[in-house]
Amino acid sequence: MAKNLRLKAARAKKDLSQQQLADAVNVTRQTISAIERGDYNPTINLCIEICREFNLTLNDLFWEERK
């Protein structure tokens, strides 16, 4: 799975640490880290929670165009 650099960028733009984002969406910091590294594919519910936190859409953060 590819790294989720868009999530990392959105987090950096909002100046949030992994821990702060994890607390906001009620998961552990390691879960956010695993998503950013591309080691874990989150459920749609968690994706929505994360998107709401950044005021972005699922497309903005998680949609991958076919190569």
Binding site: N26, V27, T28, Q30, T31, A34, P42, T43
Partner: protein, 144 residues
């Protein structure tokens, strides 16, 4: 399981499944070893099963810790690890100072091994937590 997040649950299911398969495999292996009278390694059959269980639980707990799926989000990791460290040391103290002769009886593993294995199990928790924390700190430095 409610207090674990979805990634932790996934890891627990995954390694719980591996542990279950390992348990079945080890019990089967032990059964075939037991068909030969010279290959009984435990003082009793029940003890053999108990030690196999200890091994599988040891595997599950440590692999869960390594994948951040043992402690819940709001658990006090340091406090719990310290408690396990003290319990483990106390258990090993009892094993080696009070009943060391009960670990091996007539070249077979005796009932003292239960105390030994439980001590090792408790001790493994703070050790694995410490190792994982060190790895995390290195990874954090790389990520930022």
């Amino acid at each position: 399981m409610k207090q674990y997040d979805e990634y932790q649950k996934l890891m627990r299911y995954k390694y719980g499944y591996y542990s279950f398969i390992s348990l079945i495999g080890l019990i089967m292996l032990n059964y075939f070893l037991g068909l030969s009278p010279n290959l009984q390694w435990g003082a009793t059959k029940e003890l053999e099963i108990l030690i196999i269980l200890f091994l599988v639980v040891l595997f599950f707990i440590n692999i869960s810790i390594y994948h951040h799926a043992y402690f819940r989000k709001n658990d006090n990791k340091k406090g719990i690890s310290l408690l396990f460290l003290l319990t483990g040391l106390f258990s090993l103290y009892i094993t080696f100072l009070i009943m060391p002769e009960e670990i091996i009886i007539d070249e077979k593993i005796g009932s003292g091994a239960i105390s030994l294995f439980s001590g090792l199990l408790f001790l493994s928790i703070p050790i694995t937590t410490f190792i994982r924390n060190r790895i995390d700190k290195k990874m954090e430095k790389k990520e930022y």
